[in-house]
């Protein structure tokens, strides 16, 4: 009990005092996860929109696969990326293993299916409403997909925030492919895991508080967006 109280006190001290190592870890976490969301969005959002708009053979199989991939265990994703990026792997020559780039790739692979599945769900309703009108305008799928992505932008932004939350909170994949190297690939989640096992609770707790603060802020932003969207009648 006393330990916990002291840990909290020290944790606040670290956050308020602007501890350099702490802020470096936080900064890297944000950079990696935001980059991963950006990369995953480039693939996931158009894929989700295409699945909402087009009917083609094998579509159901793709939807089932995406839903299954949403539950992909991060360590397994990390292991696969590790094998691909390791020196003897097919992409080994790029020398990406144990770099922030590898962590971005791993998180992007993890959340792209989530973005695609959530985007498909968010855009299906919109497509129901738009389908006849867009066909009447003579818009084929190649025009309908960007139209849906733009008109569904509020819903899709909350999808991106959900993806960011998942990426930032993930520990297994970045641990495997990043290696948790101090000052280079150590992010909040891997640092928390390490410091806890070492018994340095104040640093772990400080990082945990910041991480929860970020998740809270992201959800508040998502809620605010939903309210703005509702006001605009979107």
């Amino acid at each position: 009990m006393n330990d916990l109280g002291m840990a909290f006190a020290t944790a606040f001290g670290l956050i308020v005092g602007g501890d350099a190592a702490l802020w470096h870890i936080i900064g890297l976490s944000l950079r990696v996860s935001l980059s991963a969301v950006a990369v995953a969005a480039l693939v996931g959002l158009p894929l989700g929109a295409v699945l909402a708009v087009m009917r083609f053979p094998g579509r159901r199989a793709v939807v089932v696969a995406l839903n299954a991939l949403m539950g992909l265990p991060p360590v397994v994703a990390g292991l696969v990326i590790y094998l691909l990026l390791s020196r003897s792997g097919p992409l080994g020559s790029f020398g990406l293993l144990f770099t922030p780039a590898a962590m971005v790739i791993a998180q992007a692979v993890l959340i792209a299916p989530i973005l695609a599945a959530l985007a498909r769900e968010a855009l299906s309703g919109l497509w129901e409403e738009y389908r006849d009108q867009l066909r009447s305008f003579g818009a084929g799928p190649a025009r309908a997909v960007p139209t849906l992505i733009w008109d569904g932008r509020f819903a899709l932004f909350t999808v991106l925030l959900a993806g960011f939350g998942r990426a930032a909170a993930e520990v297994g994949a970045v641990m495997v492919v990043g290696g948790n190297i101090e000052g280079f690939t150590r992010v909040m989640t891997t640092a928390i895991a390490l410091e806890t096992s070492k018994g340095d609770l104040p640093l772990a707790l400080a990082l945990g508080l910041v991480l929860m603060g970020i998740v809270l802020a992201v959800n508040a932003l998502a809620q605010a967006l939903r309210e703005i969207a509702a006001r605009q009648g979107a």
């Binding site: 006849d132 009108q133 009447s136 305008f137 003579g138 818009a139 733009w150 008109d151 605009q232 009648g233």
Partner: protein, 238 residues
């Protein structure tokens, strides 16, 4: 009037449509020519909306044919449709009017869109989100959006069904102006007064068949059949 080939007349031959085991249209034959608006009347479930969607190409017939005077690829751009519940893109009023113009590759789409909004009295609302408009304003925007394309044929599916009398009158004025500008209007309605005001000719659908057809004045003054007369009186028609 126009120095281009026309997609009318539209010939409908043995048109059938069935969905989920129910026959909705049971073989229609008629021709639509350029000229005053054609009003499609009939009780609920007669197949009016389905007929419009088949003519516009949103549905494919299960039998028979819809034949335009031009190849299908050219016809698409020469017709437009406005739905009972207007579909508003989640954008500004102006962006809604612009969307189909850009899609069709019209020259100077911005000017055309603004002009179209001005014609239906929405110029002052151009920057507002379209979905924040009232029901009547939304339907006027849908009409402006279709009108801006200068279609040869405009299909209207009960455009005033959910509007109050004032908004209905505004929509009717716009429809009359569209018809006067040379566009062939093909419209369904439940409002017989509206049909009298707008129609050049009338098609009466009963039970998925074309029961009667004729010039509007003659149709309303002396209905061609006992069932047509009953329909105009507001009696149940079986």
């Amino acid at each position: 009037m126009r120095a281009r080939a026309t997609c009318l007349p539209l010939e409908v031959e043995g048109l059938r449509f069935a969905a989920g085991g129910a026959e909705i249209l049971r073989g229609l034959d008629f021709t639509l020519d350029a000229g005053a608006p054609t009003l499609i009347l009939g009780p609920n479930g007669a197949g009016k909306s389905v007929l419009l969607r088949l003519l516009h190409g949103l549905l494919s017939p299960t039998g028979g044919a819809v034949r335009w005077a031009l190849p299908e690829a050219e016809v698409r751009r020469r017709q437009a449709m406005v739905f009972q519940r207007p579909v508003m893109l989640r954008r500004s009023v102006l962006a809604n009017a612009l969307y189909p113009l850009r899609l069709a590759g019209m020259p100077q789409p911005k000017e055309a869109a603004r002009e179209a909004l001005a014609r239906v009295g929405l110029a002052a609302l151009a920057e507002r989100p379209a979905r924040a408009l009232s029901g009547g304003e939304q339907q006027r925007l849908a009409l402006a959006r279709a009108w801006a394309l200068a279609p040869e044929v405009l299909f209207l599916d009960e455009p005033t069904a959910s509007l109050d009398p004032a908004a209905t009158r505004q929509v009717e004025e716009i429809v009359a102006a569209i018809a006067a500008s040379g566009t062939k209007v093909v419209m369904t309605t439940h409002d017989l007064g509206q049909a009298r005001r707008l129609a050049g000719e009338v098609l009466l659908l009963l039970h998925g068949t074309l029961h009667a057809r004729g010039p509007a004045k003659a149709f309303f003054d002396s209905p061609p059949t006992e069932q047509a007369a009953a329909f105009l009186r507001g009696d149940l028609v079986w």
